[in-house]
Symmetry: C2
Subunit: 201 residues, 2 copies
Amino acid sequence: MISKANVIYTGQYCQLSRDELVAMVEKSMSQKRFKHVLGVEEMALSLAKLNGESLEKASIAALAHDYAKERPDEEMQKLIREKQFDLELLRFGNQIWHGIVGAYLVQQELSVTDEDILTAIRLHTTGAKEMSLLAKIIYVADYVEVGRSFPGVEQSRQLALSDLDAAVAYETEHTLLHLIKQKALIYPKTIETYNQWVSQK
Amino acid sequence: MISKANVIYTGQYCQLSRDELVAMVEKSMSQKRFKHVLGVEEMALSLAKLNGESLEKASIAALAHDYAKERPDEEMQKLIREKQFDLELLRFGNQIWHGIVGAYLVQQELSVTDEDILTAIRLHTTGAKEMSLLAKIIYVADYVEVGRSFPGVEQSRQLALSDLDAAVAYETEHTLLHLIKQKALIYPKTIETYNQWVSQK
């Protein structure tokens, strides 16, 4: 396990110190979700170390990824309308918004300026056809962090640690199957993620 | 069962007689597929009668729906490039092309002029967010015709005869699950069909 104390915030990606960022994030959500966020940071740091990504970027992206998860729907809908987001988003809910619209709030309110971090947050619920190393790390860490429990979680955690791309595929496939089982709306970009990372023909 | 002899071809949708259309279709495919096509016609006529659709349109659309299924890939790729189809189609195969591009060939070579029939052929493998009664009939008849055998086929046949919209949903859900199980590419419009007909939230 990587001690968070070893992660140095240089100020080049976010103007807050880690303590300030943690405090802002904690204030924005329930304790249960905050615990999840710390779990995602821990897993993201492990994946960053294994795959040669900046620990600082992994820490910031992980801590901020669910920053907008508990915003009122009305606020998110207003942002979608006023900030030129794709209006198709209005058919969906916060499950999709908190990544895509959340990245905007992270930039505005948490002073995160790095585009790679913002994109990783933007894509963390849907994935994408093209994903940076950091985006893959946040997408996967969110799915397999230590607090998660679902059938096969241990297997997918091992996969994450041994083969990040295979973990992206595993998560995408199982998320889609879960959504269909629930008869939930599917965000169209999820299919682009599937076609890129899961489909073999 | 509706006798095909009762279906009168008036010439308003297709300039061929039924015998001429059947002969053209039979010449374009294997005997196995031709048998399937006749099964789809029979089921489409039953569904048309049950749902108040024109038997003539159902017969023409069913007979012509797989007309391009055995065209060489090179010919279909050339049409996609030359006839202003979405070039994204090139990522897919004849499984998708024979509906979308096939409708063009049906219009050109089988003298089918009716837009509702052509759209039903165009959409028969992917479905769509908006489907006419005829499009639903062809989509469902293709899935449950008498020659089909898969786990649950009898149940889905009964559903088709009792509730056409529910059969559209059933087929869409199970086709998607099947594609994911096969790790096959998913045509993005299939998700619009799913979101419209299957998703409940």
